[in-house]
Every structure is written in C-alpha cells, then in structure tokens.
Amino acid sequence: MQRIDDFDALLRDLRSSLDPDRVRAEPLELALYSRDAGVARGRAAAVCFPRTGDEVAAVVRAAARHDRPFVARGSGTGLAGGATPVDDPVVIVTTQLNRILEVDADERIAWVEPGVLNLDLTRAVAHLGLHYAPDPSSQQACTIGGNVATNAGGPHCLASGVTATHVRAIDVVLGDGSVARLGGLEPDQAGYDLRGCFVGSEGTMGIATAIAVRLLPDPPAVRTMLLDFTSIEDAAATVSGVIAAGIVPAALEMMDAEITRAVEDYVGAGYPRDAAAVLLVELDGLPGGVDHDSDAVARVGRELGARTVRVAADDAERALLWKGRKSAFGAIARLAPNYYLHDAVVPRTKLVPVLQQVYAIAREQRLTMMNVFHAGDGNLHPLIVFDGREPGIWERVYRAGDQILAACVAAGGVLSGEHGIGLEKREAMPLVFSPADLDAQARLRDAFDPSGRANPQKVLPSGSRCGEMQRVPEGAWI
C-alpha cells in the first residue's frame, strides 16, 4: 500500500500532539521497535514516547485521524509477538510513563503508570511490608502495563494468582482516543467486568495509562526447598502428588537435567549437577502452616524418589536458590545463539505423560530441549536451544512447537499460560476454540474497539468473525 503522503501528514500530526523529539521514524528506531522478544518481526510507521495519559490519548486520536492502527508496547519482553507492529501502525512506547502515582498502605493499593517495571513496584513498597505478587521471570525488565496486556504470571502466581487477580482498576485510552476507567476500588461495580476483559487482551482493547494494583502483605514465614531426583518422571509425579495432597505452595518450579547443569555452571547456586530434575518449592504464610506443608512436601518427595531435600537455612541461601531459577534464561544464552521458548498448560495430573511426549518430540526432531517451568500450575515452558544458521533447523523447531502444543491440548491443556497468543499462536486458537467460541471473542473485541485500530491482527486468527468465514450457502451466486 502506497502511503508516503499519508505518512508525512501523520508524522506532522503526531509531532504536533507530542514533543517532536518523542516522535521517531528514523530507520534505527523503526528497526528497534519492529519486534518484541518473540520471533515475529513487523514494521512500525512511527514510534511515539508519550509521558502522560493525555499524550497517549492525543497520539491515539492522531492515529485515528489518519486511520492508522496503533500498538502499545512496554519493555518489549513479550514472547508471543503481541507488541510486533503489523499494518504499519504507530507504536506507542509506555516506558516514559513510569511513575508510581500513589501507594495506599491502608487499602493496600498502588496506582502506577504502565511503564513502571514490575520489580520496581515491589521494591518501592517493601518498606511497608507489602509486595506486588505477580513475578514473571523478566520482572526486572518487564512493565506492569505489559503484564496487564498479557495477564502475566510468574512462579509466585501459583498461590497468589496471575495479574488479573491483582488489578483493581485501569484508566484506559480506547481505540477512538476516548478515555475510560474500568473497574474501581470498591469491591464491585455495576455492569460487566470491563476491567477483567481488558486484562490479558494484549493491547487489542486499548492502552492502559494508569493501573491500580492490589498489594499483598509479606508473609511472616517463608521456606524454600530444593528437591532433586534421578528421573524426571519422579519429579513430575511429586508435583502432582503435592497438589493431590491438598498443598498449594507459594511456588513450585521444576528444572530438568540440562537446564540445572546450565544454571549451575552459570551462577553456582549449589544445584546438584548430576540430578535428572530438581524441584524448587517455596511455602509461605503463617509458621505452623509452613511447617506442616514443608513436612508434607518432603514426605511426598521422598516417597516418590527424591534423592535429597535441601531446605534453605537463611535468606542468603534462599536468594541463591532463586537466583538459579531466575537466571535460567541468561544461562542458556551461553549455550547456543538461538532459543525458542514455549508456553502451554496441562492439568497437573497429566504432567508425567505430557513431559514424556515433549521429550520424545524433541528427540524425533533432533533438537536440544530443556524444561524449566511453573510445574505447580501445570504451566510447561519447553525451551529449544539451537543455532539458527543450521540449514533446515527453523522448520524442525516450528514442527516441534506445533507437536508440543498438540500434545498439551490432547491432554486437556490450553495454548498459553502466561505469554499470550499474540501473533505466535493465533492460528493455533482453533485447536481449543470452536468457530462459535472465536466468534464470541471477536464480538467482544469489536465491541471494545469498533475501529479495529487497537493492535490489529493479534490473538484471534483471521476468520474468527462469522462474517469472515467462507460459509457459502448452497445455490448462492458468487
């Protein structure tokens, strides 16, 4: 599509809406913002850096005047291509909207702008004995706005819940540039739960400009344990066994042999290098419950073949054990130039057979695969490590990905636990949703954004709307 003239007019309009320095369209900027941390690459028409909600609205209205789509973006740590610009959009980067606006320690609420980094919020409220529970592995880099878009999780979401359970209210700019407050700080609002719909909508319903999140009190007692196993099946069975015993730990993470060795070589967290799998288990809450549950975890683990059960003796050891887990993706960067990280969820009772299938798929496709994941909620993260320069490797990587997803769905699982659908898994949506299901989602998305300009082409596969389908009645002339 030829849009040169349009483009100049768009740029002029954007630069009159925002300090001209904060509207960029140079090749370097466009290249930097052509993708997120996933593999899909797109192209932006312009990249804007607003500093206030009003500026976000002004940019969205300017985009609307030129009939351009817009894509919101935080730190770009998303892995599903949710922030990849498609259809020459205006990319709206929220990283300069990075103020913590208000902390109410009595009501345990913080109002933040979308560009506030996840970990910065927890650090800012630590002196109050409070924390923000969702803790994605990228929490040092990812923004809370991005967390809202993807409904992000993290190890500690097992007991505390994912982002949706922690967001109370959101100020948003909708597709037409109008503003709305979704949700509120009263426990209930009249009407539909627009706040709940917006969380996890991957930027397709508008842009958050301020977010009220719930803060949780720090637990009086925390116990972190490392269990190691001589077989991956025993470790997986222990996960299922712990949940079946009625224990929902604060976090329950699993790492297989390959990743355990890689992490140990990288940070020296004291993980056993010869383990087939380790489980990192954290229990928190009141001391009696922590004692009870940690005893039970150790018992279940030993019954199911744990070789050792190590309990962190102090905060330093606890931090070291977590450093191992949270450094996993840094560790693999040393092994090969490329990686592909998957994200799917299976019922926790199906962990053992599904993991066996996942490893078999990697063997069949002759791929190096590691698993480091949120085992407690059945959220698998098979990680394929490879050298993209090897001929034919990408085909095998993609094929393995499709097969892994199919195996998870066949076991009663879903497509994504926390990364989102974005561009990456759009076409997989029919694996779990019928045409009627997808049509309902498309109606919801269109009701939020009739213009279709908010992050187009994400989440829903083409053909999701009934009208788009090739349903030709018999005898029709076409």
Binding site: A164, D188, T349, N379, A436, A440, A447
Partner: protein, 332 residues
Amino acid sequence: MAVTTAVAELADNIRTAEAVVAVGNRVQWEVGNPPRVDAIDVRAPSGVITYEPADLTVTIGAGTTEAELTEVLGKHEQECALDPRSDRATVGGMLATGLSGHRRLRHGPLRDRVLEVRFVTADGELVKGGGPTVKNVSGFDIPRLVVGSFGTLGVLTQVTLRCQPVDRVSEWSSTAEDPVAVLRRGYRPSCVLWDGRETRVLIEGVAADVEAERLAMGTMGGSVAPAFPDGPHRGRISVRPSTLRTLAPALDRAHVRWLAEVGVGTVHVAADTEADLVTARVVAEASGGWLLREAGAPGIDGFGVARPNAVLQERIRVAFDPTGKFSPGRAG
C-alpha cells in the same frame, strides 16, 4: 449423555424464543431488577461432569446447587469457597449475580474462581470461554465477563471452578475493638465482620496458626459466625474499605441493620421499610459507593447507579444478544 441432550434442548428453546430467562432455585431472584414477565424460563443442567481432586478443579452443570457441590468436594476435603447465603443457590445463579461470599478478604472474589464457562448464545450456539486448567491466557477473558452479567449475555450451562483444600481449623473469634486495628494485626484472616459494636474474625489454617493469629489480633475464641442482617428489604453496599468508619454512623442513623466486610468494602444491609433502604443507598452514594438491591424494595431500581462506561457496556451486550432476548430488564 443426559447433559448433552439437555443442552441441545436448551439451545433449541433459546434459538426460537423472543425472551429468555435462566432460572435456578430463585434464591437470588430479586437481586438487581426482576426480568420481564413474558420471558420463558429455561433451566441449566445440574450435577458434576468431571471432578479431578488431584487437579483441584471441578466441572459442573450450571444448575448444580451449593449443597451438591459442597457434598461432592467435601468427600475430598476440598471446597470452592463460594459461600452463598443459602445452599440451595445454584452455581449459575451465583455467577450470574456475581455476588462474592463473605470469605472474599482471603479467598478473593467469585470471578477469581471461574476457569471456564459454557453458555448458549442468542442464536442457539454453545460457546466456551476460558479453559479447564488453573492457568490460562488463551484468548479473551469471557469467564470474567459472564460473572455478574445477570444472564444478559447467554444462558450458562457448564462451569469449571478452581477448588482449594479445606483448612484444618476454622474458628470465629470476637472483640469489641476497632475492626481496622484488629485487621491490621493479622496476616491474612479469612473474614473480618463488623456491625458497629462487635468485630468478628474468621481465621483458618492449622491449629497452631489459628491460635497464634487470634492472639495476635487480640480476639476472644469460641465465637460463632454472625447472622447476616435480615428483613424484608435487603441490599449490599459496595464502597472503598477506608470509608467504613464514616459510613457506619450514617447507616445507624438510617435505621438499617448492617454488617460490614472489613478490608473488602462490602456492607450487607437490611431494612424494615423500603424508605430506609433508600436512605441506606443515599448514604452509600455519599461515600462514593452504591447499593445493589438484593431483596424486597420493589419500588426502587435494583442498581440505583448508572452503569460506568454505559456506551461500551451496551455495545458488549448487543454484540452478544442483538435482539435483547436474554433476561430483559434484569440488569438495567
């Protein structure tokens, strides 16, 4: 098999009807506004479809009652902590009205409990939203949209809920102390209720923790759950929790009986006359909140407030139900 048949029949009825209202046991029938009288009644199937205790998830027909659900889960010492006022309430009815239970302070609102919903749309299609696993971001969050939608988007047929282990000890205790101070001294009590005179606290966990937590909060053990305010005209106020102290004396002056969920902001209200309930609504609005009519008071609007973002709300309703056949009149 029986369930499938029932859903197919339901879908046929809905496809051809002009106005439809899903009916459970009418426990929460007066919450919000009454549906138009010409609507035909439909019933969702009941019973457990799958229950996997080791996954902590249960899938049930939307017509399943709290009593049935509690019985099934109880055999495995699990619960969903829905806590409706009557165990005759159906899960579909609870989700439609969106009323969270009294243990919300610790266990979260009703919406956090729902993993997957299946419902029949206006054109008789069966639609699924969400998914059966405890964690899922595949597609838009239709389950949250359905909770509290008063049946205006479709007729719920099937629901998957997250379960939790029942705590070993569950104890009510009480004090005459200021409820906010009591709440602050605890870690995560399940419930703190206050009627202006007495604070009652529910603590759940292992025995040692329940005892220690009660001592920390400074309450006297051996209490029981308080009775919720009763009367011919009832409602629930939703306000920011920090406004409770100013709200309380105003409610007393309004001659209503009330019980507040401290730290949550829900205040249960009962009145002897419709006029008193209206006064309570005025008090709620003066504190920045609103009052949902739950029973009685036939002369007043069920919500009393304009829906926030009414245009967007209406677009969503119409997107799902273009002819307005579902629960006409019920939600607004």
